[in-house]
Every structure is written in C-alpha cells, then in structure tokens.
C-alpha cells in the first residue's frame, strides 16, 4: 500500500485537497498577522503618497507610555478574570444541577440559558443598553419599587461604573456555552460511579467536589484556554454599549480590541494600530501558553 501511495499523483492530490483551505488561511489570517508584525515597526499609515520608514520600537514605546492602553489592559484582564472565575465556575455549577436532575424542565432552562449564543452580540449589547437606559425597563422598575422618580442607572454615565454593564452582560451571554460544554462531558461519564457514591450516602457537595470536578479537570482547562482567547477578542459588546470615539467615557470601558480600533483604525493610524495588534497577539499567546502549561501540570492524562 505504502509504495503505491508514494506516487506523484498522491502529492498532487494532497496539494489539491489542502489548497482551498490553506490558501484562504494564509492569505487572510496568517499573512496579515505577519504583515502587521512588519508594519508595526514602521510609520507607514498607507495614506496616498506618504513618506515612510522604519522607526524601530517607537510605536511600542508610544503604546506602553499611553495611560489609555494600560486602562484597556486592566479592563481586559477584568474580562479574562470574569470569564475564568465567573462564567466557568457558574457554568460548571449550572451543568451539575442539570446533570443531577435538580430542576424540573431542564430542557427549557438549558435552552434559555444558552439562547444568547445565537443572537448577534452587538444586538444584545444594544438591547441591554436600552433596557438599562433612562427610558428603559430596568430604570422604570427600580423607580416603581423605590418610589424615587429620579433614579437612573449611572453605568453609562459614571466613569467608575463603565465596566459593570459589560461584565454583567458577558456573564449572562457566555455562561450558557460553558454550561453546555460541561453538561455534555458529564453525560459522557460513567454514571455508575455517581450512583454508587449516592447509594453510599455521599451528598451533592461531595459528589461534585470529589467525583465530578476532578474528572472534568482536563475539560475545565480547555475551557479556560477558550475563555482567555475569547476574552481578548471581546469587542462587539463593548462597542455596542459605548458607540463613541474612544474619548470621554469610552476610555473607561476601553479594552485592547477597542483601543486598537479607536486609536489605530478609526483615525487611520495603521502602523500604530498594527503595533497594538502585535501586542494583543503576544499577550494572548502568552496567556494561552501559561494555561496550557498549567493544564498539563494539573492533568497528566490529558493529551496535547
């Protein structure tokens, strides 16, 4: 079989089969990432007839001495922390409740918790914003309950509260995804162990902490990596809730992706924006490598 395979036709076949996928990937993902690495070290903004040259690390120095960048990084780390310490544990817990049949109508709950996944995030952001807006239902409800006709949510006005609606929104949007991932993995487990433990008198806390959580540790790590990667991509919800130009309140809920958009793309500073994207990719690769390494340490059975 093997020598039969080693024919020119096989190589051509192989190339033909991978070509559509690889060409698209190289041209649209890998190539541009490498290109931005190059552009980042120039002052080429691709304006017509622009003079440009290599300027070394100047763009990066500008980024690292910009307070708004550090604010964006801090906010982004908040989003990472929320997804790793909020969405994943909550998703795990909800999955466990469903797995152990602790609620009636689990199919309905499952569907409702997952629902935000199918709606465009920018649209959710707009709905969420109008809901908490001065003309929104949340304001109306609080006013009716507290009998205070002047109450308004200050989230979209007060600088210090700018990240609150975003974090709440993200918690509700993405928890459903992790819940389903964990649930599907729990259902693949051998149910005999859980039953035996229950018969032996283990309570739910013990079953969860001693059997389910350890068995899922590999999946938890995989999800943490996905969550970190996803957190650094977060743009849509924030853009939809703060459709400004990155000035004023925009700086208070800025994250790295919106920083790149407002400070680079929107003002046509392409070289600076490319440098920001290089920083983002570097940070995400670093975080992914760390969690991957931690995952292998914690779970030697998991295969790469």
């Amino acid at each position: 079989m093997k020598d039969k395979f080693r024919k020119r036709g096989d190589i051509l076949f192989y190339i033909a089969m991978v070509a559509p996928c690889m060409i698209l990937y190289l041209a649209i993902i890998a190539g541009p990432i490498l290109a931005s690495l190059g552009i980042a070290f120039t002052d080429n903004d691709f304006r017509p007839n622009q003079q440009w040259g290599f300027i070394g690390f100047d763009n990066f120095i500008k980024i690292f001495s910009d307070d708004v960048f550090w604010k964006g990084l801090k906010n982004n780390m908040l989003v990472v922390a929320l997804s790793v310490f909020g969405q994943i544990p909550l998703g795990l817990l909800l999955a466990y409740f469903l797995f152990r049949n602790m609620v009636k109508g689990s199919g309905f709950f499952q569907a409702m918790v997952f629902m935000p996944q199918v709606i465009s995030t920018v649209v959710i952001g707009r709905i969420f914003q109008s809901f908490f807006d001065i003309r929104g239902a949340a304001t109306g409800i609080v006013r009716a309950i507290t009998n205070n006709p002047d109450f308004t949510f200050r989230w979209f006005i007060e600088p210090g509260q700018a990240m609150i609606p975003i974090l709440i929104g993200m918690l509700f949007i993405y928890t459903g995804f992790y819940m389903l991932m964990f649930l599907a993995n729990m259902q693949k487990m051998d149910s005999g162990i859980v039953e035996a433990a229950a018969i032996d008198g283990a309570n739910e806390m013990q079953i969860f902490a001693r059997i389910i959580a350890p068995a899922l540790s590999g999946i938890i790590i995989v999800n943490a990596i996905l969550a970190i990667a996803g957190s650094l991509k977060s743009f849509d919800l924030i853009y939809a809730m703060a459709p400004n130009d990155g000035k004023g309140l925009g700086n208070n809920n800025i994250v790295l992706a919106t920083y790149m958009y407002f400070r680079g793309f929107k003002v046509y500073k392409m070289a600076f924006g490319s440098a920001v994207s290089v920083v983002i990719v570097t940070i995400s690769l670093l975080l992914i490598a760390i969690s991957n390494w931690a995952g292998k340490k914690l779970d030697p059975l998991q295969e790469g």
Partner: protein, 284 residues
C-alpha cells in the same frame, strides 16, 4: 441514560437556591426581549413617558417604517449572501483538507499544517483587521465591492474550527474504507466524494451550525470592510439603532426584526444547535 434510579435527596433550601439561579438566568434572557417586543409597538412619546407601560394601541406600522428607514432589507439580503457562500466554502474546503490530514500518508506535513491552522482558533481575528483591510482595499474589494472580500474573510475565519472538528471525525472512520474503495478501482477524488463525504453528514451539520452562527453574527470585520450597500445585518442594525438618534420606537422595531428569525429558528432547532455547538467544541 436511565436517570430514574439515581437517588435524589435534596433539601428544600438547596432546591430553592438552584431554582432561583435558573429563574434569574431565564428572566435575564427573556424579560428584556419581552419588554423590547411590546415596546416596539409603542409610539415614540409612549416610550419616552412610561418605559414599562404597554402600548395603548399597537403600532404595527413601526415595523414597516423601521424596515424602510433602517434599510434592514439590504442587511438581510447581504447577510444571506454571506452566509450561503461562506457555508459552501467552509464545509467543502474543510472537508477536503481534513480528509487528507486524517487519511493521507504524509503524516508529518499534515501535523504541521493542522497545527498552523489550529492557531487560528485561538488568535483573535481582530488582529488581522488592519493588514486585511489594507490588502482588500488595494484589490478594490472593500466598500461597494466588499462582497467577495467579506465572503473570503468569513470563510477563512470559519475554516480552522471546521478543520479541527472534521479531522477528528474522519480519523475515527476505518482506514479499510479508503483501501477497499481503491482496490475496487475508485479514483482518489471518487473515494473522497462517494465514500467519505456521505459518511460525514453529522460532522458537516455540526460545522455548518457553528459556521452559520459565527458568520451571521460577526460584526467587526464585516463592518470595516463594507459600506451601506454591502453591510450585513449586525452593522446595519448598529448604524440604525443608535442611542444618539431619537426615533426609539423605530429602533426597537428594528432590533425586533433583526432577532425574530433567529429566535424562531432557535426555538425549533435548539436541540440541534446546542448539540452542534457543543459537539464542535468537545474534543474527540
């Protein structure tokens, strides 16, 4: 799995906490939509005066106006075009590559290529934004002529995940399938087309669901590449439903128009959709 013989002993308190948590989530996802639904039938002054009241008389013309003012038809038209072409390209491209990644004798090359493509799952696609925009602009594939550029972009973005899911699946198919087909004299393409593809229907469905959700809801890349004629649905809605313009009743109607088809599809196919999304993300 038979769950009836699992012993369930739960205190009323813990039960209440569990229910409370789920009800909180359901309220959060459904109440804003319910509120949006009836608010979209109010007049603008009704919205301004009392945010909680129901409409005195439902203003169904809001939808007609929003459709026209927001140019939502264009958004739907473009989104459907992007979805259909992206689905075809991603499913076919990923199946072809996955087949040789899983079954060809060039194991080492395949490993390298697959790992390279796999990075695309983790790396933020936003980081390609600037060079991609400049490149497509220099080819004249932005603005009015953005359609081809957007389809290719969405296809490339959807490809990595699809390749990963499909390669794992095809690896699970027995090698003897390929061998016996070739002993019977089937050509290489024929083996792929007539033997392998029909067996991969479940994984193609999974891929299609994940790609469709990603494509339909993608915002940033489509937003920067398109103009008002080539805009997909999410950028159309964002441009229209802007808190700084005062036609709130139309904006709410526009938001409703943009999500109702998805909610209907989800309520019919939610089992398939959730299984597809989860199936794609689970290893092995």
């Amino acid at each position: 799995m038979d769950k009836s013989n699992i012993i369930n002993k739960h205190t009323p308190l813990s039960k209440a906490v569990v229910y409370l948590l789920f009800i909180l989530f359901v309220l959060f996802t459904s109440y804003p939509l319910f509120w949006l639904g009836y608010s979209s039938l109010k007049t603008n002054s009704e919205i301004q005066n009392d945010s909680l009241a129901f409409p005195a008389t439902p203003q169904f013309t809001n939808y007609v106006q929003a459709w026209e003012v927001g140019d939502i038809g264009t958004g739907y038209f473009n989104s459907i075009i992007y979805l259909v072409f992206t689905l075809v390209i991603v499913v076919m491209g990923a199946m072809m590559a996955s087949y040789v990644f899983a079954k060809s004798p060039y194991v080492k090359v395949s490993k390298v290529l697959k790992a390279a493509v796999g990075l695309g799952i983790l790396i933020s696609t936003h980081s390609v934004m600037i060079p991609l925009f400049l490149m497509l602009k220099s080819f004249g594939l932005t603005g009015e002529n953005a359609r081809l550029g957007i389809i290719l972009t969405y296809s490339a973005v959807g490809m990595p995940m699809a390749v990963f899911i499909a390669t794992d699946f095809i690896k699970g198919l027995p090698d003897s399938l390929v061998e016996s087909a070739q002993i019977d004299g089937a050509g290489r393409f024929q083996t792929f087309w007539q033997i392998i593809l029909p067996m991969t229907k479940p994984v193609m469905a999974t891929m299609a669901i994940i790609t469709a959700l990603g494509t339909w809801n993608e915002f940033l890349l489509g937003f920067i590449l398109s103009n008002r004629f080539t805009k997909a649905l999410p950028p159309t809605i964002i441009a229209f439903a802007n808190p700084r313009t005062p036609n709130y009743h139309l904006q709410m109607a526009g938001l409703v128009i943009s999500i109702v088809p998805m909610i209907i599809l989800y309520s019919i196919f939610n089992k398939h959709i959730t299984r597809g999304v989860v199936g794609g993300a689970i290893k092995g």
